[in-house]
């Protein structure tokens, strides 16, 4: 296979938020539209949405304990091969697990207490090299216009797929420099057009301030590393975002990869994958992804119950990550030749139908 083609494939469509696809999304009524949601009795939904501090307090305590324990092991054994397994665990919990904490606390659903959500959100944003303001707005848009080309800034499975980039990002090789450049740009007072499209004027100064704080902290860690002539400080802060992200890609890419673009039904553009308890702890139940998009107010710990309530109306979930990737890989390979190809999930007999409703937004 011609490797260069994998790198330089032009995108079939313009995935930027300021290109022609943006207007087209508005013209087709896809922007800010009403989406299909499986009806759930209000009483049941209220009980599922209920907030409490306990599950997240417990889970964050375990997360921090694993980080401190594995990090300490890595530091103590630095210089010997025995440090490797400690950094393996540390990296996965630093990066792959931080993403789901970032996500849940960004929604404000993990804890009942607002400051706890905000504190974990800021910490996880830093670990993930994401500007907490920019990404709050980007994720809001992802929920408004999920996988709508020209509107959703979080489409990771663009077509045709950039396989080399996807593979390099297993160790953050493209994503980490991209994240740092984006933060540095914000720190320099710049919000590029795609970010400006998302963030209202009133929030922009905050985004610049956050960019400056993140960059200052990373520069500080790099200086300590240089001053001590050791990679160790960067192995603890910064580099884990690269060497520990692989599991997030394995668990997170199936959320939407290989599924339809430009549809107003989460059952068709999102995927629910059943996972084991350890995976679900690391991923904070985001494997119930259709359910999360339908009802983003339901906290992560109640998603398995929500799944039971709505599953009669959803495509059968993939029974494992292996099963999900077994359908994704052939699809993605075919998209190299045929970017219009995608997987059409089968809705169960008697499943509800989406009825188009006028959008509330204007271009």
């Amino acid at each position: 296979m011609d490797v260069m083609r994998l790198i330089t494939f032009p995108m079939e469509r313009d995935y930027s938020l300021t290109g022609p696809e943006r207007q087209s999304a508005f013209d087709k009524g896809l922007a800010g539209a009403e989406w299909y949601r499986t009806p759930v009795n209000r009483k049941v939904l209220k009980s599922l949405m209920k907030r409490t501090d306990w599950p997240a307090t417990r889970d964050i305590a375990i997360w921090v304990a694993v980080l401190v324990g594995s990090g300490a092991g890595g530091i103590l054994l630095w210089g010997s091969w025995w440090a490797l397994p400690f950094f393996f665990v540390y990296g996965v919990f630093y990066a792959s697990a931080a993403d789901s904490r970032w996500h849940e606390c960004g929604h404000g659903t993990a804890f009942k207490t607002r400051w706890k959500n905000d504190a974990v959100y800021e910490l996880a944003s830093f670990l993930m090299m994401r500007n907490s303001v920019v990404w709050r707005w980007s994720h809001a848009r992802h929920h408004t216009d999920t996988i709508i080309v020209g509107r959703d800034p979080e489409i990771s499975g663009m077509r045709p797929p950039q396989l080399i980039v996807l593979c390099l990002n297993v160790f953050g090789i493209v994503a980490v420099p991209q994240g740092l450049v984006a933060l540095a740009r914000n720190a320099a007072g710049i919000l590029p057009p795609d970010e400006a499209d998302l963030i209202p004027e009133t929030e922009r100064r905050k985004a610049i301030r956050v960019g400056r704080i993140h960059i200052a902290l990373y520069v500080l860690v790099a200086l300590v590393s240089m001053w001590s002539w050791s990679l160790l400080p960067l192995m603890i802060i910064g580099l884990p975002r690269a060497y520990g992200i692989w599991l997030l890609l394995v668990m997170g890419l199936p959320q939407h990869l290989g599924l339809a673009e430009d549809v107003l039904d989460y059952r068709i553009n999102s995927r629910t994958v059943l996972m084991n308890p350890i995976q679900r702890f690391i991923y904070w139940n985001m494997n119930y992804h259709i359910e999360h998009h339908m009802y983003p107010m339901v906290p992560y710990h109640a998603l398995p119950k929500l799944h039971e309530v709505v599953k009669h109306d959803l495509p059968a979930p993939n029974p494992s990550l292996w099963d999900a990737w077994s359908e994704i890989i052939p699809c993605v390979l075919r998209q190299l030749r045929d970017p219009r190809h995608f997987i059409r999930p089968q809705l169960p007999e008697g499943a509800g139908e989406w009825e188009p409703v006028q959008s509330n937004l204007t271009a």
Binding site: K46, M49, R51, H107, T144
Partner: protein, 105 residues
């Protein structure tokens, strides 16, 4: 502005809300506890989503779309992406009925 008979108090559970459509506009009526009721515009100021599907937590309403939050007493936006305040309207309970003072043509 006239007082409108919106609904019976028992039609709203405690820590919950209902939607009221009146004169081409949508409102949200909240019951916090016992006879403590409030009324605000019914659409989120962020992307005009109906707040009636949201969650009342203490004195806040959380929007069902992006989890933006407002204080139902003042309408103040307290959590982004909700940034702009909701309009609020007087509300009270009389003889088991919820009355709200909202614009009428």
């Amino acid at each position: 502005m006239p007082w409108i008979d919106a609904c019976a108090l028992v039609d709203i559970e405690e820590e919950d809300l209902v939607r009221l459509d009146h004169d081409g506009r949508t409102y949200a009526i909240y019951r916090i506890w016992d006879e403590e009721v409030y009324c605000t515009d019914g659409l989120c100021t962020h992307e005009k989503v109906h707040l009636a599907d949201g969650l009342v937590i203490d004195h806040t309403i959380e929007c069902p779309k992006h989890n933006g939050q407002f204080d139902v007493r003042s309408g103040t936006a307290i959590r982004s992406p909700a940034c702009e305040a909701l309009s609020t309207y007087p509300a009270r309970v009389v003889d088991g009925r919820v009355l709200v003072e909202i614009p009428s043509t």
